[in-house]
Symmetry: C2
Subunit: 314 residues, 2 copies
């Protein structure tokens, strides 16, 4: 199993730079005062398609060979990766086919359709997604761009941390959300490759704590029917992302649904930016663990800002 | 009646610069494509207290003499000006007394209290506000800092346009919302003082169209029981702001409630920033008048981002 290195992430950054936004790193004096630490928000909610996923998808599309480009790409995703691959493919003249659960938020379905991808709806189970995807691959020869169990995707996701550390090198912590582990794998590989003294922390909903269980038991434990407001973090780690996380992450901290919702509202109210529930997990880690972060500098990867405004949790 | 000039606004900017944020000017490729023009959003939702009002309030507080500083300031406001004056006063060691209507959004009441001002609640009518304020002035000798009918406040509000034109000098239009006319007076004085070829447009809810009526009839027409989702634009022009607007504004365009709400949602969804309904009027002007703006460059003053998330209009 080939694991990514900091060089792979730097190469990915060089490759995708012309396509992505170098998103801003924001801070809030009010939040710093409230939590008694210095917080630096790497705002991937301002990334194209409203999420970091555009980085990994773009890197994967740019690595296709000529024959692969002609047959197109396919993926299954609950939302942000779907839109990301749809746009990355369309910007590069490649056809994208997307398998989405029927239950995905309307705003995410619309985004995928707007980017011109072909959508196949399926039942909201991992099995149904994987079956639909396999069928499309067999029929069309399309290349699978898995949302996180993919070397090129992981390298792309790591470029957000690369830009964060280029703007703010003197951090004590970097915190990113953990779902399938693609962002966490890229982020931790990047951070440890640049400065091994920076602590890397994964933020996970208590109600979807497969990564916490896997990390602490040393064995890959899949998620069983997770139920969390952080709809981007329902997926389980893969062998690849688990291995990378074991190697590079210092700890995984779980957070309550209540903290996720209150931290999302806090960022909306005080910073006037839209972040999605999955992104609020990183601030929830700060909120639930004041002792760890007091007086320290933490970089927070804000993963995205795609929210269905008609179904808010507050 | 002394009217402000571009020199007064430049002087105000020099004075308040150490206290305010030089807010970013953002743009969105998606919105530019959708409306077929180039839009530059001057984001005063990222200003301290979440609104441009901090500029005018700070300028007014910094102009107090020593005797006035000791007696403090007083104002009546439905929200943003209240928080702005409370913070500006507290940052400068001056006591603030604020008269607020009982019906003001919770988030705005809390903000004022957090900044340490003394709040007096009153009925939600202009008469009740003015009476309470007069009483406080008589009892304490506090200086009234009116939300808009005030030379120093108007000069402060004009500094947002000054920063906008410093970032983007080659605009065809500048659009700002019109309520009591403080922002519009400062903005139009600034823009015409710098480049008289730039068209200055006021954006007003059709349901609170006193400025439109006054501007087009040449006579000051007060608002009677206006009812609009743009809760920052309920107030009527004063003699002072009307005179300045008559001198400097090219036209006032009214917008429907439906446009205000859909444009607010559009900015949240596409730009991932929180803007309040009053701010959405400027984009609603673009939406309702495609013929005027096609192919042009427009600077939009986004007045604020203070929203009660439990009472959203969508």
């Amino acid at each position: 199993m080939k694991l990514p290195t900091i060089s792979d992430i730097m190469a990915a950054h060089g490759r995708i730079k012309p396509y992505i936004h170098n998103t801003p790193v924001l801070s809030s004096q009010q939040l710093n005062k409230m939590f008694e630490c210095e917080l630096y928000f790497k705002c991937e909610n301002f990334q194209r398609v409203g999420a970091f996923k555009f980085r990994g998808a773009t890197n994967a599309v740019l690595q296709l060979g000529e024959a692969e480009r002609k047959k197109g790409v396919v993926t299954h995703s609950s939302g942000n990766h779907a839109a990301a691959l749809a746009l990355a493919a369309s910007m590069n003249g490649v056809k994208a086919r997307i398998v989405m659960p029927e239950t995905a938020p309307v705003v995410k379905k619309n985004a995928v359709a707007d980017y011109g991808a072909e959508i196949t709806f399926c039942k909201p189970t991992l099995q149904a997604r994987e079956e639909s995807t396999r069928k499309i691959m067999e029929e069309t020869g399309a290349t699978l761009v898995h949302p996180y169990d993919n070397f090129n995707v992981i390298c792309g996701q790591g470029t957000a941390a690369l830009e964060l550390l280029s703007d703010k090198p003197d951090l004590d912590f970097v915190i990113a959300p953990v779902g399938g582990g693609g962002l966490m794998s890229g982020t931790s590989t990047c951070v440890k490759g640049i400065d091994s003294k920076i602590q890397v922390i994964g933020a996970e909903p208590l109600n979807a704590n497969d990564a916490w269980k896997s990390f602490n038991s040393g064995k890959l434990v899949p998620s069983v029917n997770p139920l969390t407001v952080a709809d981007g973090l329902l997926t389980s780690l893969s062998e690849l992302t688990f291995r990378i996380i074991q190697n590079n992450v210092d700890q995984i901290l779980t957070v309550s649904e209540e903290s996720i919702i209150s931290c999302m509202l806090l960022v909306w109210e005080r910073m006037k930016i839209i972040i999605e529930p999955s992104s609020a997990t990183v601030l929830a880690v700060i909120k639930e663990n004041p002792g760890i972060f007091r007086g320290k500098k933490a970089g927070l990867i804000i993963s995205g800002g795609n929210v269905d405004f008609r179904k808010l949790p507050f």
